[in-house]
Amino acid sequence: MPNLKDLKIRIESVKSTRKITKAMQMVAAAKLRKAQEAAEEARPYASRMAKVLDKLTSSNLDTTTGSPLLIGAGKSEKYLVIVATSERGLCGAFNSSIVRLAKSHISNLLSDGKSIEILTIGKKGREQLKREFGDSMIDHVDLSQIKKMTYEEASIISGKILEKFSKRDFDVAIIFYNQFESVISQVPKCQQLIPFERKAETDTDSEVEELSYFYEPDEQEIMEDLLPKAITAKIFTALLENGASEQGARMSAMDNATRNAGEMIDKLTIQFNRSRQAAITNELIEIISGAEAL
């Protein structure tokens, strides 16, 4: 049995750990509110954009002359895998769940004979993927200097991707991120960026309306203008969802840690009290038996 002094030191150290995790939890809760708001405010733009593009493409999809961003490069040999993670750890399974999903996708692609390139956003994903796929990593986006995710940041990233696509460095781009569902649940998601994924056409009754659109300047130019923006919007929402998920994951992880620390303190305190009691009883026995011997 450890002696009293050791126990005391351990209790103190767990207590200070609990203070830290508690503080982190509260910081994450405050940040979560902001991140969640940002993610929710960004959703209308992305959904409207998707709706407009859906209308535009469904009424006049030309598979021969359309923009390669829409119809693809004509093959799907080279993949660009974008893995969005956080800059910091201590957020539960947040990063590892994205990485796990990305890894299984990558190994599927590799076994299908495709070649891959990896672009990582956020330090944690790069660290975890470097060991296995270090040779395929082509670029990394550092988010550590960015306090608040803005549309400009997303457009810098999408600019990089589009430039690579125009050089035909890859045929298909997919992004991995965590979709924010609630504080306790974040779902790792995989989304195709290029070629632009259209929703399955389920409602045909709205088609009559779509055909009567006038376009200014012309459809080709509008598409050329709109598609990169739609991709930027997708990346932007993915990053915001990721940001909210990160804070949510950290908050629940730190909540768990705080609770565990509390339990540990209780256990240690009981142990401490018992051993103190045992020591006192021991001393009493010694005194009494000493007195009897006289």
């Binding site: 733009y45 409207r48 407009v52 803005t150 997303a154 300047p217 509008i222 709109l226 923006k229 919007a233």
Partner: protein
């Protein structure tokens, strides 16, 4: 909804700026400014940098737009802007910043985009000149 009003939405990537019934909006389209009233025919157009005027019951608000896209249908008008701000919040610095970014984009743009970007740059410069006066 009354006869002469329609639903107008101004959406930026960061948030929804306007979402209400208005009487008319004046949009800086790439092919020229246009005023939209209720029951406009369906139209989709790109937007050049410029000012958007929203009018309702005698009051009007002016927003600065840095390009975007507008979709006009019978029911509603949806404006997707990359960047939008109230006219009073726009400063020369913001415009200068945008001009720099556009110039950078112009350097490595494809032929088709170049023409669009060059136009955009011109529009931004003229707005800057106006502001400085």
């Amino acid at each position: 909804m009354s006869e002469d009003r329609f639903n107008f939405e101004l959406v930026t990537p960061e948030k929804v700026l306007v979402s209400r019934e208005v009487e008319s909006v004046c949009i800086p389209g790439v092919e020229g400014d246009m005023t939209i009233l209720a029951n406009h025919s369906a139209l989709a157009t790109a937007i050049r940098p410029g000012y958007l005027k929203v009018e309702e019951s005698g009051k009007s608000e002016t927003y600065f737009l840095a390009g975007g896209f507008v979709e006009i249908s019978q029911k509603e008008v949806i404006l997707l802007a990359e960047k939008a701000a109230l006219e009073s919040d726009v400063s020369v610095e913001i415009i200068t910043d945008l001009i720099q970014k556009t110039e950078q984009a112009l350097e490595h743009a494809s032929e088709l985009q170049k023409c669009v970007l060059a136009k955009k740059l011109n529009d931004l410069k003229s707005i800057k000149d106006q502001l400085q006066k």
